[in-house]
């Protein structure tokens, strides 16, 4: 029924535009029989040349109207009128459709702004080192890149890159004599009593407050978390065996 009603309305529009009825029916042969009487009724009902009120009569009615209108005292808008006027604009603005349009626009704008901000922050944080304001952004963007990389080879390559980046950061901190909490992965080269050398970095093992998991041996790949002091000594807090990347 909805389809027929739409066809009927399109046919009426064509009729009002001057298209002959039989031509309209020829375009819709499946509905022609049902449409024909309705379109003829529509054609007969159309009022293309409506009669006008005689101008004298219209003038009399206008004068009567204006005489009544003259009895109205002009109103200076009160604060309440102004408030109502503003509210009526607001009500018109906040229809369901306008609200949904606004919601979509705001959502898209916010999403784009957020994405732009993340890209800018990610770019700005690329040279940060531990202790910098943007360093956490750098690590978050690295984690996002890891989580969206599905190919195993690409993932391994990316992880290797980030491990190298940690070593470079420690080197930069050392050069700048800065203290910071650091974390890195590397091969355990030498294993002394209180000093280990991991990937060329000397790590001090304090007697208290250190956790070592899985009894790592020389040649193992380990993950070290600790505090790099300004005297360039790295005091370990936690040492664990690193997960070996699958080939």
């Amino acid at each position: 029924m909805d389809r027929f009603e739409s066809i009927l309305d399109e046919s009426i529009s064509a009729l009002q535009a001057g298209v002959p009825i039989e031509e309209i029916l020829a375009e819709t042969p499946d509905y022609a029989q049902e449409l024909r009487p309705l379109l003829y009724a529509a054609m007969v009902l159309a009022d293309p040349d409506p009669t006008l009120v005689p101008s004298e009569r219209k003038e009399i009615l206008r004068d009567q109207y204006l005489a009544q209108a003259a009895e109205l005292t002009p109103k200076v808008p009160t604060l309440n009128d102004k408030t109502q006027a503003v509210l009526s604009i607001v009500r018109r603005r906040f229809t369901k459709k306008a609200f949904l349009n606004d919601l979509v626009t705001i959502s898209i704008t916010l999403s784009l702004t957020l994405i732009m901000a993340m890209l800018i922050l990610s770019f700005a944080s690329r040279n940060s080192i531990p202790g910098d304001f943007l360093y956490s952004v750098k690590r978050i963007s690295e984690n996002i890149r890891l989580s969206v990389t599905l190919n195993q080879d690409s993932l391994n390559a990316l992880e290797d890159n980030f491990h190298r980046e940690r070593l470079i950061e420690i080197e930069q901190l050392t050069q700048q004599n800065r203290a910071a909490v650091v974390e890195f992965e590397g091969t355990l080269d030498t294993q002394g009593e209180n000093l280990w050398v991991v990937e060329g970095i000397t790590v001090f093992l304090p007697e208290e407050g250190l956790t070592i998991d899985s009894n790592p041996q020389e040649g193992d790949r380990i993950k070290v978390t600790g505090f790099l002091r300004t005297d360039t000594v790295l005091v370990a807090d936690q040492i664990t065996k690193a997960e070996v990347n699958s080939p």
Binding site: L8, V53, K58, L61, A69, K75
Partner: protein
């Protein structure tokens, strides 16, 4: 031309110039609407005059149209027309009374003869259907504008239009039901 909302705000302040503009802008439309439904130009002119006096009375009572000036005027015109129709005794037209030597759908005279009878047959429709027909075919309004004036969905107006035309078509002479 000033938009309807600004005009409405001005008549709420009883601005005389705006009130005159309302009459000049809408009188003919309202008269056509009423005359289409009544087919009586004298009575239609009187009722159209009443519609505009009703506007003044509404302003006096501090109950002006809220959001749509034209919607308000058409609503008053619709009510006054419906009341007027109720007071009149009407008869169902007989299309068979319309005589033509050789009835043909291409005969404009014959088709023109059908118009008054079909308009008279409008009175057999529901008041809402009459309103839709008057707005769509008398005023030539689009479906969307009709729906807005009636505060209904476009789909609802389509359905009303369909039912009204189908009812009227049943009253039309047999020629229009046959493949031309």
């Amino acid at each position: 031309m000033e938009d309807e909302l600004s005009l409405l705000e001005r008549i709420k302040r009883h601005d005389q110039q705006a009130l005159a503009e309302v009459h000049d802008r809408y009188f003919n439309q309202i008269y056509h609407y009423i005359n289409y439904r009544l087919g009586d130009s004298d009575a239609s002119a009187d009722l159209a005059g009443e519609v505009f006096l009703a506007l003044i009375n509404a302003l006096k009572r501090n109950k002006p149209p809220k959001t749509s000036l034209s919607g308000w005027l058409y609503a008053v015109a619709r009510n006054l027309t419906a009341d007027h129709i109720k007071q009149k005794v009407t008869t169902v037209p007989l299309f068979d009374d319309i005589v033509a030597d050789s009835p043909s759908l291409t005969d404009h005279v014959y088709m023109a003869q059908l118009a008054p009878a079909l308009k008279q047959a409008l009175l057999e429709l529901t008041e809402e259907q009459q309103h839709v027909i008057a707005l769509r075919f008398g005023q030539g309004l689009s479906l969307a504008d009709t729906a807005k004036l009636m505060d209904k969905s476009v789909g609802a107006v389509k359905a009303l239009q369909h039912r009204a035309l189908a009812s009227l078509a049943r009253l039309m002479p047999k020629e229009v039901h046959q493949d031309g």
